[in-house]
Amino acid sequence: MPSWLNRSQLLLMATLAVVGIAQSLSGRLDSYILSVAMGVGINIILASSLNLINGFTGQFSLGHAGFMAVGAYTAAVLTGRLAPQWSPLFGGQVFLLFPAALIVGGIVAALAGALVGAPSLRLKGDYLAIVTLGFGEIIKVIFQNLEFVGGAKGLNGIPDYSNLLWVFGTAAITVYTVWALLNSSYGRGFLAVADDEIAAEAMGLNTTRYKMVAFVVGAFFAGIAGGLFAHLNNSINPSGFDFNKSIEIVVMVILGGMGRHIGVILAAILLTVLTEMLREFGDYRMVIYSVLLILLMLTRPQGLFIWPTRKAARRQNA
């Protein structure tokens, strides 16, 4: 292995290569399975990015769907309505245009994250949860009132640019970024803020800054996930990004074990597939889902995929 690559970077490269191969073979796959797979990938991005905020930094946010909406609308407008002005910049090439639209969507979502985070991150616990919920709803209402993007009816006819490569490539990069950020010497501060904010502050960490960084980075990836979501479903409307969507993502993070990389990814996969599988129960689907959710919280509140590792045991003893 070349010295400038460490193991995790190698893993990232390998994942990207595998995704590339899978994409080239995707023509043979059933289109339903393909769309479920992409749904899984998008949820991995959402859950991992929220995990940075809720899990690792310990700031309970209930507004992730709002940032997703910002990214989705921005990207959809760029590839749709603004395509005539914007597409020539990339020579009309979709493989350049689409990622650029996604990134712009992510940046706008990150700006929204900064805007929401700056006032609200002074609050803690339940109050932060409520305020982020409130901002999420406000974002939804704003989109409902923007006639430019279709108001309450939403946007239709978004080109289906999303494919396995974009979705899982982004998912791999998201997971890697969150992982690498937390394992840098700077990133240890996130965990310190989650463990004990007062102690972290006493040690001279700028806790507000850490919370902001977590929030902005999380919002950025949520925005990109939104863009992918829009170009997978071909249509978006504001009520698709409501409180329930945020809850869905929060549930993934909690069942994955709050601040566990792999656990949260597994939970995202499991919950996405589970909701698809429950479809055949028709009207009973959501009833079963909610009963399962309650039972899981009663029996395994620490998360589904928690194994007693040496590291975790050490952390508990400390």
Binding site: F60, P119, S120, R122, L123, G125, D126, Y127, A129, I130, V131, G134, F135, E137, I138, V141, I142, Q144, N145, I198, I247, V250, V251, I254, M258, D283, Y284, M286, V287, Y289, S290, V291, L293, I294, M297, L298, P301
Partner: protein, 301 residues
């Protein structure tokens, strides 16, 4: 002038309903320190219990249409909601007593989803027309149009609020409630059965939510299983606005929110109604996080 008075009356009756629901949020937060997301669905159940009782009463040729029948329906649906609230606490929240707030919060969301989706399954998805359970007439006082239902809503709400105030301030169990809310550990040390108090609190909060559901359905006579979402959120905002954990605060917050909402409804900002409610919430939390009547907690290291 008449228009202003009209708005005041609409605001009062809306605010009274918000106040009733907000009290449930605040009481539960007071004793358990968590946001009971299922509260708004108990509110919905209240409306549905009243709907089905009213139909059954009608079929049996009971005292339907009079004030007595209306009060009977109201009391029945409050009792049913109290039972539901106590059962929910018993089955879903009590096993989690020592877990983190987050776990309980997610469980509460699960219960809320269960009630909503179970409701859609049992009651059907389509809205139902809510019958007149109290004699309804429209009074016209020199251009000022008052529906008698609005007066009933106001009367019932004031009666319930006074009853609650009396229970909390002047009875043994109310004193115990305040003790648990002040310091649960100390309360159990002096011999208060905290579990019983928590059950009682849930029962009372849910009964108020049930009453709120019936009154809301009287004003907006179309009920469906997801009807709790919006008023539930508003009432929650009202609770935070007044200072969560404070009973007078919840009543005040509910009233204020009712006024603001009816005020906004008449203007061209009406589509932003929900956003404005949240904007108020955010403003309050940023400038006075403890709410209007709440006490600031000092953080000790």
């Amino acid at each position: 002038m008449t228009e202003l008075l009209q708005q005041v009356i609409n605001g009062l009756s809306m605010g009274a309903i918000y106040a009733l629901i907000a009290l449930g949020y605040t009481m539960v937060y007071g004793v358990l320190r968590f946001i009971n997301f299922a509260h708004s669905d108990v509110f919905m159940l209240g409306a549905f219990v009243a709907y089905y009782t009213a139909r059954a009463f009608g079929r049996w040729g009971f005292v339907m249409g009079g004030y007595l029948g209306g009060i009977a329906i109201l009391l029945l649906s409050m009792t049913a909601c109290a039972v539901v609230g106590i059962v929910i606490e018993r089955l879903a929240y009590r096993p989690l007593r020592r877990r983190s707030t987050l776990t309980v919060l997610i469980t509460a969301i699960g219960v809320s989803l269960l009630l909503q989706n179970g409701g859609q399954l049992v009651f059907g998805v389509n809205p139902k027309a809510f019958p007149d359970i109290f004699p309804s007439s429209t009074l016209n006082l020199g251009g000022l149009v008052i529906n008698s239902n609005q007066l009933v809503v106001l009367g019932v709400a004031i009666a319930l609020l006074s009853a609650l105030h009396w229970i909390v301030q002047h009875t043994r169990i109310g004193t115990a409630m305040r003790a648990v809310s002040f310091n649960a550990t100390a309360a159990s040390l002096v011999g208060i059965d905290t579990n019983r108090i928590i059950s009682f609190t849930f029962g009372m909060g849910s009964a108020l939510a049930g009453a709120g559901g019936v009154l809301y359905a009287m004003n907006y006579p179309s009920i469906e299983p997801l009807m709790g979402n919006s008023p539930g959120l508003k009432a929650f905002i009202a609770a935070v606005l007044g200072g969560i954990g404070s009973l007078p605060g919840a009543a005040l917050g509910g009233m204020l929110l009712g006024f603001v909402e009816t005020g906004v409804s008449g203007t061209r900002w009406s589509t932003f109604r929900d956003a404005i409610a949240f904007a108020i919430l955010i403003g309050i939390l940023l400038f006075r996080p403890a709410g209007l009547l709440g006490r600031n907690r000092v953080e000790k290291v």
